[in-house]
Structures are given as structure tokens and as C-alpha cells.
Symmetry: C2
Amino acid sequence: MLFGKNFSDHMFLMNYDENKGWHDPRIIPYQTLSLAPSTMVFHYGQELFEGLKAYRTKNGEIQLFRPEKNIERMNNTSRRLCIPEIDPSDALQAIKEIVKTDSDWVPHEADHSLYIRPFIIATDPFIGVKPSSTYLFMIILSPVGSYYPEGINPVKIYVENEYVRAVKGGIGASKAGANYAASLKGQDKAKHLGYTQVLWLDGVERKYIDEVGTMNVFFVIDGVVKTPALEGSILPGVTRDSCIHILKSWGYKVEETRVALQEIIDASRNGKLNEAFGTGTAAVISPIGTLNNGGEEIIINNAEIGPIAKKLYDTITGIQYGEIKDEFGWTLTV
Amino acid sequence: MLFGKNFSDHMFLMNYDENKGWHDPRIIPYQTLSLAPSTMVFHYGQELFEGLKAYRTKNGEIQLFRPEKNIERMNNTSRRLCIPEIDPSDALQAIKEIVKTDSDWVPHEADHSLYIRPFIIATDPFIGVKPSSTYLFMIILSPVGSYYPEGINPVKIYVENEYVRAVKGGIGASKAGANYAASLKGQDKAKHLGYTQVLWLDGVERKYIDEVGTMNVFFVIDGVVKTPALEGSILPGVTRDSCIHILKSWGYKVEETRVALQEIIDASRNGKLNEAFGTGTAAVISPIGTLNNGGEEIIINNAEIGPIAKKLYDTITGIQYGEIKDEFGWTLTV
Ligand SMILES: Cc1ncc(COP(=O)(O)O)c(C=O)c1O
Ligand SMILES: Cc1ncc(COP(=O)(O)O)c(C=O)c1O
């Protein structure tokens, strides 16, 4: 099942205008939108999205994983983009209702799920550069197959030295469509060179690691787990946050800090780079086997998945599919 | 006549797909677009635009001003955003045809014009992060009144120290919708503080001047004209380029260089800051009367329009409306 191509029968809509605020929440059959060519979203990219999943448990129930974190991040993105915030309980209600309506679309197969895509677009039919005065909030649903149909294989990552995705003071910490537009070129370059994803460096000194494609990134150096701190240029991933909590509960030392690329290279040379992996809703955990830095390749953990990455993957997916006790209170039954 | 709210009777459309390339150029009545909610442009901001104008001359003809520069910039933006380029002669043809079709919409009043908005949106109905494989190129037209109905008044500008618009290695030199989404917050802040536009500083050192809102910026210090160099974080404005050519033809020394904010403050203190002005298609020349830097206000040229700004405005608008001989070969009759 190809991700992002098929959509369920219904969609959720809610409108915003300055008089009524967010109003008219409704679920209607999935259908095309009619928009004037002058609609702001086509011109100034005032748009944001979120991404989370609904999981089918063994006993047939449907679970969400930390949806309140996605809603919180959506409102943070809204503030950065001058989009009016949505009451978190209304947003959660909307997600639950649309998933309930199309609950038959939540797959029963192992490791499958229903991807939930809330998004907001600016809808003023006006081409002056200013925040729109009207918006449309929508939720669409897309069934998605197993990310790892053939088992978890470590990926090859290309360190991007030319293009920059985001910079402190910019919108890199937001889930704004704009960030993804800015990232396409680097991703494309990495793909053409035979790499799965791009590793972004900070836009100021070009020395510190930001994130990997659409994932946050973790390194295990000499038994200590390091991940770039949330300093404004990377997305605060829900999976990242979950990993940090789980690792700490296991007694690991986790440092949210600046991670210099050189530190990773040095650790690799000294045999102290135990593991590296990306984290995100799509793959959950994506072990990094190879890192290409300016033509030089670093192989991490013999390009095999490491024990921490494996245990995190099993734990998080176990919680998501209701196979492991949810000690953190992260799941919500729809 | 409010800019950007009213549109002419027709629009130009052309589609792209991987088999046919850009194909099916057509002019149809102005109408809404039907797009699936999954359409990429709503999610990842893969979109760009251009902006230029058609001018009515005294003898009733219609002129474009350097349209080939906008087309060149559009293709540069396309490359940065992984959008397929359009043959420049096809793009020029499209602009000419749509303006001809709706030639009655080019106003006859002095200082009025018809704003031309070419734009491209990603149209794959697919929510994976990758460049779209289909696109829509459109041109819409909006009549626009005089920018200065009450004469040219210098504007108040706020120096933004917190938010960053763009950084070298990013997409700041592109006319990507994404840049405007990123700029809204700073603009909004400036407006709330009582300023017309925001002056953006570079995202790396936060010391050098990038541009002003939707304008490039020029300073006249002790008779020498300085404007930030095109180093990747500012838009290469057509008006900027025209000003440089005209100023040089007048014998001015024009430096395209890094301009430190401190240099401007020092020049102002020493009485050597003669003039400051923004340049862009909308206003042509917008003199800057006041600059607020962290609460401290600099008044430039007694908050009056300076002689160079005035002469540039008269010259460029004179060429655009066919009242001055076009020595540079910049105009094109439709
Ligand atoms: C740029 C970027 N970084 C990181 C992530 C990971 O975030 P999350 O764990 O919330 O899915 C994502 C989204 O999936 C992303 O798009
Ligand atoms: C960010 C930005 N800078 C500068 C300009 C000026 O460019 P031009 O002179 O081509 O209109 C514009 C557009 O008008 C702009 O949007």
C-alpha cells in the first residue's frame, strides 16, 4: 500500500473568518476543493500540516498515539505563521470523529495503520502579502502499509553542505509547508547520489547537526545518547520526545545538546559511535548505516541495526499497537 | 482600486506532466480551480510566483517592463524548488497573449497599471515529501491604482532582530511562496508597532542588511550608493537591477556589497546618510524616512524624499509609461 496516494471516504473541514472564528466543523465525503486562483495559499505558502496515525490493536480497537502533542505543535506552527490557533479539545474531537467515521479504513494487518493528515490553508482570494483573514482546517486520512515489509534495514544518509533547510529565527521548528519546499532540492540531490535522506547542518555555522530529512536524529556515543537540542531550527518530533522519555526510563543518559558533525566523525574513527538512528512518525526508528560527508563514508555499527534502535522500535510500536503496556499514558482509544 | 482583489476576465493556464512536459497552453475565463485536498501545494508549499505590470502609454499602447527578467527569475526559482523550467519564449508569449486578451483591463488613468501574476503550483494528489510530478502554470491579472495617490511619502521601517526571513544556502533568492510565509510574523510585528515594513538582517551574523519587506534596499552615503550584494539570501529585484543601471548611467558610484546595519547608523550619526529607499515593482521607489533599531529611531533626510529617490522614481515610471525615451531597451509593446 503506497503511502499518501489513497484516501478514505470522508474528510473533516472547519472554516475560520474574523467574525465567527473557527466555525462550522463538519465531516463530508472526500471531494475536491474549489478555490479561486487568487487564493493566498497558492501564492504565499501560508499553510501548515501535521501527521499522526491511528493503529488497530489485536482486539480490534483503534488507538491514537499522543495526539495532543501534534495538536500542540500545530498551534505552535500556527502562531509562527500568523494563523489563528484552534482550541486543542476541538482539534482532538475532530481527529477522533473523522477516524471514527472512517474506522473501517484502519487496517487490520500487522504494522499497517491509518495516516491522519490535519492541515490548514490560507483562503483569502487576495494577492497582497499579509496574513489571510480566512482559513480552512481539514483532516484527510490515508491507509499506510508496513514501513519495513522486509525488516528494518539501515539507511544511507548524505551530509548536505551546500543547501540549508532552516535557521534559528526562521520557521524550522514549525511544521510549515514552506520548510518542505525548501528541503526538496537537498533531498533530490541526495537521492541522485544514491542516498536515502539528507542530513541537514545548522544554517549559521554549518557545523552542527540539525535533523535528517523528515526525522530527528539520535547518536549513541560510548553508551551516551545524544540528540540535537530544540533551538529553533529543527522540528520537535513526537517520536523524538517519546524516545527521550523511554531511554531515560531505561536508565540511559540522554543529552539534548549541540551535536557537531565533527564529534560524530571523531567518535566513529575512535570506535565509539555505537549507533545512529532517525525518529519520526512514518518509520518510527530508522537506523543509519552509512553517512557520507563530502565523499567520505562513515559506516555505523557495521551498517546493522543497533540494540538501542531495535529496542526503541519494538517498544514504541508495541505501545502503538497495544501489545505492550502503555506505562506513559500515551495512547488514546478512539 | 485595492491591489490584488479584483481580477480580469481571463486567465492563462498550462500543465506539466512527466510525459508531455509543459503542454496545453490555454486562455480561459477566470474561474475557480478544482483540486483534491491531497494536492501537494496545500501541504509542502511547492509553489512560486512572479509579479510584473502592464502600463498604458499616453498614445494608448500597452507596455511591459523587462518581462524577460521576471521569466529568468521564475526559472531560477523553479530550479531551486525542483519545478521544471518553462521555455522563456513560451512564458513571454503567454504573458503577452493574456494581456492582449484582457487589454481593456489595462487602466488609462495616470499611475494605474495592470498587475500580472504568473505562478506555478505542484498538483500531484500525493502527500509524500518529494517534488511533484505534475504542475500548473497560471497567469492572472489584477488592475491596480496609483501606489502614491497623495504623493510619495517616506515610510517607517522596523529593524527585525528576532525573526529571520532567509539565510544563505536557503531559498531567499527565490520567489518561492515559502519565503513569504516565513516573513509574515516579522511584518505583523512591525505593523503592530506602527511601522510600514520590516528590515531583515542576514540570518548568520544578524549584522548585515538583507532587504525590506518586499523591496530591495539602497542607501546613499556621502554621495555613494550602496545596496546589499546578491549573495543568496535576498531576491534579485528587477527594480533593483534597473536602479543600478540608471544610477551608473548618471555617473553615480554604486556598490553592491555587504551593508552592515552599524554602517548605516554611523553614517546617520555623522550626517553622511543622505538617502535610503526601497525598490520593487509595486512602489517602484519607496523612500525610507525612519528606521527603528531596537527602540532607537534614525530619521533619514528629515523624513523627506531625497533627490536621487525622486529622480529614479520619475525616470523608471517615465520609461514604464512611455513618457521618457527608453534608452535601455527595457520596454516591450504588447
Ligand atoms: C522535518 C521533520 N523532522 C522530524 C519529524 C519527526 O516528527 P514526528 O516524530 O512528530 O513524526 C518530521 C515529521 O515526521 C519532520 O517532517
Ligand atoms: C522579497 C522581495 N524583495 C524584493 C522585491 C523587489 O523585486 P522587483 O523589483 O523585481 O519587484 C520583491 C518583489 O516585488 C520581493 O518580494
